[in-house]
Amino acid sequence: MSVLVDDDTRVVVQGITGGEGKFHAGQMIEYGTNVVAGAVPGKGGQEVHGVPVYDTVDEAVEEEDADASVIFVPPAFAGDAIFEALDTDLDLAVAITEGVPTQDMARVNKRLTETDTRLIGPNCPGLITPGEAKLGILPGNIFAEGDVGLVSRSGTLTYQVVDSLTNRGIGQTTAIGIGGDPIIGTDFVDALELFENDPDTKAIVMCGEIGGEDEEEAAAFIDEHVETPVAGFIAGRTAPPGKRMGHAGAIVSGSGTGTAESKINALNDAGVPVGDTPEEVADHIESFL
């Protein structure tokens, strides 16, 4: 039915008493997500949307059996919040926060090699299994249950592509926003592997953008290991070198690496069609089903 999250997932929201955390915890609950606790230092004993708040993630796990966390903590404290989630042995941590210092993420990245907890993000919209659970800020109403897995580096671009799919009656197993930062937890290869092993995912959309070499690595992985048909989209074809296009990770370096062209070619070589427009991506997916 899905990857990573479903209606059994028991969610703790780190930062549930802040503006963003409170609003989106409400939205998640309304969508049907099983939000069992909040965790905010110094706010233990309070309730938000009827959900008990604890001082630590550890307590939330002890008392409410939480197994996944969504992190809405300001950038200065987000690295610490991610460490707390990883050190509590949750199955999944989803960091929504934008603007986490890269060196903090390098330390997190090192810890990820030592733990079984999976991290999504940071600087991401989260993930959703339509009809079951959403962990993050994605607008639930544009998604529909179905058999397409989607993985994307960008939030609003995900919405655009999902909207094209849903309007044609094509639903999704799970959609994962992996985030636009230079160092992230789950990457394209990880997400592709999850979808490949999910019997209900019949086709995969992969939305990449300029910067880094993750899309090229994903293409090589698809070539070797993915049987499920994949359609791609790459944002930033017209981006000039050396300019950061919003996302910290979206930059074509002076030496010419990270270009849209290199990514599109790599995907095409792996047999993945890349749409020129979001509608064309939906066309490819429609042809796979």
Partner: protein, 382 residues
């Protein structure tokens, strides 16, 4: 955020990395006074953040006052690859016999820092990396522990640095990593690290780029950013409004939410035969005032002939966007440039009801909105 050379050198010198004597000057007399204090010969170096300053005439070596005046006069006020030169660094000329390269950066593929050393300094290191990658020694660093002393030595030996210099170069590399780590660097680079005839090493150039997301905990460097700000007037305005903005060459103005979707909108403008004038991301959750500021930004770009406004609301609400558009456009007797709006996602229907369609053209899909904006721009050009 990039520090200027003079700022980076100050940061390096404070940390104990040897740098040449230098002074900043902003007029010809200042240059001469600085040169006399330092002692001829001196290098006069334009302080602008572009590569290849030397080739573009932004660096001159002078032997005496006459030459100093002439060079200062030509460099100060010059246009160097689009940047106005208003300050120069007057620097002791180093008598060198060899040029090395050392740097620390984040290897995003590996997700960890990497220290690099090469004996092929003084040239474009990206060319070295391409042509003779083995000439650059690389050492990945575990950020939890920092750079072990052996790693600095190993990088220096692997690069083939002369053994008499190995201690000094390792020491520079160790300090450079420490700086990079303490100051939230994204890149710290010395190219060239000159070797003098006395066997000393000295940082003849200095690059220090700081992670913008970490400036909140680097207040001293954040102040330098103010000083370093230069370049395009519109990009400065975008800083004031706190937008992610990049100015481009075309005539179709673009406003949207979310980096990936805005980039996609740019690409679609190109796809449908237009030329994007800018990248402008209003970010998540923008309220009416921010939307009005975004329109003001794009209208102030004289190259812009039409505007496409594309919002797919997650945390951004369509009614707020519509309010902002109405407010911004309501103040004009005549709309300066045609605006095409497409709203989707959260509260888009409420937004459509509010939106004054006398002021804008409304389209239902992204593709249609972009095509319409490109048509409008073509009409203006024709």
């Amino acid at each position: 955020m990039k520090l200027h050379e003079y700022q980076a050198k100050q940061v390096f010198a404070d940390a104990g990395i040897p740098t040449p004597d230098s002074q900043l000057a902003s007029d010809v007399d200042g240059v001469v006074a600085a040169a006399e204090e330092i002692g001829y010969p001196v290098a006069i170096k334009a302080q602008v953040q572009v590569g290849g300053r030397g080739k573009a005439g932004g660096i001159e070596l002078v032997e005496n006052e006459d030459e100093a005046r002439e060079a200062a006069d030509s460099i100060l006020g010059m246009d160097l690859k689009g940047y106005h030169v208003d300050r120069v660094l007057v620097e002791e000329a180093v008598d060198f016999i060899n040029e090395l390269y050392v740097s620390v950066t984040m290897d995003r593929g590996a997700g960890k820092p990497v220290a690099m050393v090469s004996t092929k300094g003084g040239v474009n290191i990206e060319e070295v990396a391409e042509e003779t990658p083995e000439a650059i020694a690389r050492e990945h660093i575990d950020p939890a522990f920092g750079m072990h002393p052996y790693q600095a030595r190993k990088a220096v030996y692997d690069a083939g640095v002369d053994s008499e210099l190995a201690r000094d170069v390792s020491s520079v590399l160790t300090t450079l990593y420490q700086l990079w780590d303490d100051r939230d660097g994204s890149d710290a680079e010395i190219n060239p690290l000159m070797v003098t005839s006395d066997g000393e090493v000295i940082a003849a150039d200095a690059v220090m780029n700081i992670d913008e997301d970490a400036l909140f905990r680097q207040p001293e460097l954040a102040e330098m950013e103010e000083e370093a700000a230069s370049g395009d007037a519109l990009e400065q305005k975008a800083d004031e409004y706190d937008f992610d903005y990049v100015r481009l060459e075309g005539n179709v103005g673009i406003i949207g939410n979310g980096a990936g979707l805005v980039m996609t909108t740019l690409d679609l403008v190109d796809h449908y035969g237009g030329e994007p004038a800018n990248f402008l991301d209003v970010g998540g959750g923008a309220k009416a005032e921010r939307i009005a500021n975004a329109l003001d930004m794009v209208f102030s770009d004289e190259n812009v002939d039409s505007v496409v406004f594309n919002i797919f609301g997650g945390i951004t609400r369509g009614d707020e966007v519509a309010k902002g558009i109405n407010e911004a456009l309501g103040q004009f007797d005549e709309i300066p440039k045609p605006v095409v709006v497409r709203l989707a996602g959260t509260n888009w229907e409420e937004g459509m009801e509010i939106l004054n369609e006398d002021l804008v053209t409304v389209e239902q899909t992204l593709e249609d909105a972009v095509q319409r904006a490109v048509e409008y721009a073509d009409e203006v050009e024709a």
